[in-house]
Symmetry: C2
Subunit: 222 residues, 2 copies
């Protein structure tokens, strides 16, 4: 049995964090067993593999679990070094990549996950403003580069591109048009989608929209 | 001029995040210029070096800034590889170290920073409970090992040991006795303090207590 077959991914189709790990595995050409988790009825394997956070994604390699999406992507990069690297080898370039991935998790995500859950009002306006501010920071960092790291698709692209599946919903819910307000980010997203690893890992934006719509109904937003 | 002299650290004596970077620099024997920041009147250099978060610590190496304490520690490990490594070289062991450092930032810290700021009441009890729960998780992870990574002082120790300076305050404010409730963590803390790199980097617990006390007065907690 080849090394690759010893890889399992506990994931959920709609998880932007899971998408990161799927892209990284695809970039490295790693074959793996995909296990879809029902997040309202988590498997014993998930609870045992990630007893601290009880969250997907979890990568299991040779029966050893690795948790937290950015740590999993780093692990994949290091455990399967034969293919193109995901993180650059230069320490400073690595630190910059880690910084922007961390920014996406700490800043961008907290607003992106809340903005579509809020009813009209001050809190929504405040959240939208912060989201826009963070997108502006990310667009400025991208600048005229092809990818966040320069000429090569890499760590920050993997960290951020899963959220491009949310842009359709932002527009459909009349929150924000990334296409109009952040044309460079929109173009970068399309460029990433030309890669097989991304195209086959990202969920269909309309399916994400349906999921968000159902959740908004539950929350009484619409 | 040696390479080391090209290192500056923008920091504040009381910052647990800053302490991490000081320990890492000491472990690697890197000489550097220490610049104390007044957090209520941040320097131009800090604002220019960390325009996104505007926070200390910032490491400046050959005029290039690196931000976020865990990323700085990783950078120090990679940019000064000659001395004992801080992160292990095995990908799985690295992932585990990154996971626990991330746990300290995401889980432990949010309760540790709030618990001494709260007046008596339900919120304090809830926060204390979560803090204790997280300390229990960390003590279980440490187990009978000498350091978090095993026989060698490393990344998770550097991530967590700065907070041992807060234990005295937790006890003095009648919140929690780490010594009594978590004897293994207390013993580990003392073991770490035997290292020169830690001893010279940690602030005096009583000075931290004075700072917290002043802040509690401002907040009307005492």
């Amino acid at each position: 049995m080849s090394e690759e077959k010893e890889v399992k991914l506990l994931d959920n189709w709609a998880s932007a964090f899971g998408v990161r790990t799927r892209i990284a595995l695809a970039e490295k050409g790693v074959e793996y067993e995909y296990k879809e988790e029902n997040l309202s009825d988590k498997s014993e394997l998930l609870l045992k593999s990630n007893p601290v956070h009880k969250k997907i994604p979890v990568l299991i390699h040779h029966d050893k679990p690795i948790c937290e999406s950015l740590i999993i992507v780093q692990y994949i990069d290091e455990a399967f070094p034969s293919k193109t690297p995901i993180l650059p080898s230069d320490p400073y370039a690595r630190a910059i990549a880690l910084f922007w991935a961390d920014f996406i998790d700490k800043k961008f995500y907290q607003y992106a996950i809340r903005v579509w859950r809020l009813k009209k009002g001050e809190e929504l306006e405040e959240t939208k403003k912060e989201l826009v501010e963070n997108l502006r920071t990310l667009e400025a960092e991208l600048g005229e580069k092809k990818y966040f790291g320069g000429e090569d698709f890499g760590f920050v692209d993997i960290a951020f591109v899963p959220f491009t599946s949310w842009f359709y919903s932002f527009q459909a819910f009349d929150l924000l048009s990334v296409e109009e307000e952040f044309p460079k980010l929109a173009a970068w997203g399309k460029r990433c989608l030309e890669r097989k690893s991304v195209a086959k890992s990202l969920p269909e934006p309309k399916k994400v929209y349906e999921l968000f719509t159902a959740r908004r109904k539950e929350l009484g937003v619409e």
